[in-house]
Amino acid sequence: MMRTILRGVAAGALVALGLWTAPARAQDAPVPPQQVWSFDGPFGTFDMAAAQRGFQVYSQVCANCHSMDQLHYRDLSGIGLSAAQIKAIAAAVQVPVGVDDQGAPKLGPGTPASMFRAPFATVDAARNALGAAPPDLSVIVNAREYHANYIYGILTGFRDPPPGFKLQPGLYYNEYFPGHQIHMPQPLHGNDVTYADGTPARLGQEAHDVVTFLTWAANPEMVERKQIGVRVVLFLALMGGLTYAVKRRLWANVDH
């Protein structure tokens, strides 16, 4: 009987393994190198200081082109900002606040309940201005293979095109972008922002910080999820062991 069980398990594992063999996407971009992230592994959490610095990079650089429509300013409590800080951040941006008495759309200071300000009114406006629509960054980390490593790769992967590479006008060469030609001009060069906590704003640091922020933005539940998960898994392991012991005792007198 044990043999059949083992076989069953082996079969299940095989099916699973076989099917998960990730589809090798035939693209010429290299696999972005693995970086060290605070949120890696089953116990990983978000480095709050890095996420806050990353928010600064996002709002001072990326937000000129990219929206983050799924986020509200109140959500920033998730990276450790206080209610007062959030209120100040929201109040400093002009967001649509309904219409004036002529029926024209009106702008006004944001509140914690406001959605993140979008740089362009419509996707078409963004495309017209930049040559390609900059994607919304709310869940971008989940929306690309290799996730955080890929976004980091894009931000640090701008290079001069190799000799003989035909770069179309208005496009930029990027090591990790599929096809290597991207419409985004290199957004980070180092020292694009001045960090309040005095961290030197090298390119790698800025990219690392903004990717930490974007990973939080895409998975704000991650820390709570893993914490609950550890408890659930421990409980189930204990419960499973106990049930198995009971089962062994119960079946001990059955000749089978």
Binding site: M1, T4, I5, G8, A11, G12, L14, V15, A16, G18, L19, W20, T21, A22, P23, A24, R25, A26, Q27, P42, D69, Q70, D75, P135, S138, V139, I140, N142, A143, R144, E145, H147, P178, A218, P220, E221, R225, K226, I228, G229, V230, V232, V233, L236, A237, M239, G240, T243, Y244, V246, K247, L250, W251, N253, V254, D255, H256
Partner: protein
């Protein structure tokens, strides 16, 4: 003939109800005393696991539906709203999303169990066929569910799969228009998919009831594939199998929890985090993993109509499996050739799964065709012939005396004493 049930329950309230509506007597008969072969291995857990999984899907689905918006402008954002703003919405959604994968893992193993131990053979043919209906309903439900979050793969998957029907001559295009409720996958499509995605699980529940009802008429098969002969061959379902199933449930939930809490997006496609865009086709359109073998069969046939027919045929062939397999012996244990061939068939299905995950070029085309041919060859040629030619091993006399010589391992082959004790309770 009307008549009150003579209830044996002593609790007055239970007795009062049971006298008028004998549900307690029924539960006692079907899940309490129900005599069950005592030699099940853990492969017999998967039916109960599938049942639990269905209930988990229905419960999480109902809570998702409270906040989901079946509208192409709102659907994607409403799912993000569930993940971010609804209390434990991320948990409900990740359980539902990974629950679909777990459901297929469990069901595929359950089906494999039936194939390995010949559970589809007389008198369980109808039970098996109802099972195939369940598989088809699950597939339809999962397909339509995957469309609901309205990401790129939702949209393009729906487009590719519904378009398959256009392969049929004359009626094809009208069928596609009818499915879409218009001339493209759009709002009417999303709306009806939501409606049907809500409905089908309850239909599924009804069919599962029939499946279990049929099981309780013909009784369970067992790893030896021989009939129950004496009460010594069985144990009462409770507590023996309720406890054994509980072990399985713990392991199942453990695997499920690892997925949900630590790698909730492992089995998903990153492209589904991009809102549906009818103007931009993703680099390659891949279905969820559990459809990959069938997708591979579809793409392995050079002709579109042929591919569609082979794809549906690959499941429909299961309906007639009880008659394709001509061997009178159920369990693979006593069929030395079948026992090897069933694994070759499994290998062909895994091969097809891998083919389905890759763009159809080069080696993958060849592998896809070889596996597709073998898949059908197994059912349509090997099984009918094998039943007539195979020299099966001698079957044991009974479950209690697994070996003819009367030596049943640890128990020394004595059917009395310890072995008989459990049945005295039944």
């Amino acid at each position: 003939m009307a008549g009150l049930n003579k209830s044996s329950f002593t609790n007055p309230v239970v007795n009062w109800i049971d006298t008028r509506l004998p549900v307690f007597t029924m539960m006692q008969k079907e899940y309490g005393k129900f005599p069950t072969p005592k030699n099940f291995n853990y492969m017999w857990n998967f039916g109960a696991l599938a049942m639990i999984n269905l209930l988990i899907m229905i419960i999480t689905g109902i809570f998702l539906a409270m906040n989901y918006q079946p509208n192409t402008q709102l659907a994607f954002n409403s799912v993000q709203h569930i993940m971010r703003d609804v209390n434990y919405g991320w948990l409900i959604r990740y359980v539902h999303q990974n629950g679909a994968s777990m459901f297929f893992i469990v069901t595929y193993i359950h089906i494999f169990r039936g194939m390995y131990y010949g559970s589809y053979k007389a008198p369980r043919e109808l039970l098996w066929m109802i099972g195939v209906v369940i598989l088809l309903l699950m597939m339809a439900t999962a397909f339509m569910g995957y469309v609901l979050p309205w990401g790129q793969m939702s949209y393009w998957g729906a487009t590719v799969i519904t378009n398959l029907f256009s392969a049929f001559p004359v009626v094809g295009q009208p069928i596609v228009t009818w499915l879409w409720g218009g001339f493209a996958v759009a709002d009417p499509t999303l709306n009806r998919f939501f409606s049907l995605h809500y409905l089908l699980p309850f239909v599924l529940l009804g069919v599962v009831f029939l499946h279990v009802a049929a099981l309780h008429v013909v009784g369970s098969n067992n790893p030896l594939g021989i009939d129950v002969k004496t009460p010594q061959d069985t144990v009462p379902f409770h507590p023996y199998y309720t406890v054994k199933d509980s072990v399985g449930i713990c392991v199942f939930l453990l695997v499920f929890a690892l997925l949900v809490f630590f790698m909730p997006n492992l089995l998903g496609d990153p492209n589904n985090f991009i809102p549906a865009n009818p103007l931009q086709t993703p680099p390659d359109i891949v279905p969820e993993w559990y459809f990959l073998p069938f997708y591979a069969i579809l793409r392995s046939v050079p002709n579109k109509l042929g591919g569609v027919c082979m794809m549906f045929g690959s499941i429909l062939v299961l309906f007639v499996l009880p008659w394709l397999d001509t061997s009178p012996v159920r369990s693979a244990r006593f069929r030395p050739v079948f026992r090897v061939l069933i694994w070759v068939w499994v290998a062909s299905v895994i091969g097809l799964g891998m083919v389905g995950a890759h763009p159809p070029t080069g080696i993958w085309v060849v592998l896809g065709r070889v596996c597709t041919i073998y898949y059908f060859f197994h059912f349509l040629v090997l099984l009918p012939i094998l039943g007539k030619m195979e020299r099966t091993l001698p079957l044991p006399e009974s479950i209690s005396r697994p070996v003819i010589s009367g030596n049943s391992g640890g128990g020394g082959g004595l059917p009395s004493g310890a072995a008989a004790r459990p049945m005295e309770k039944a």
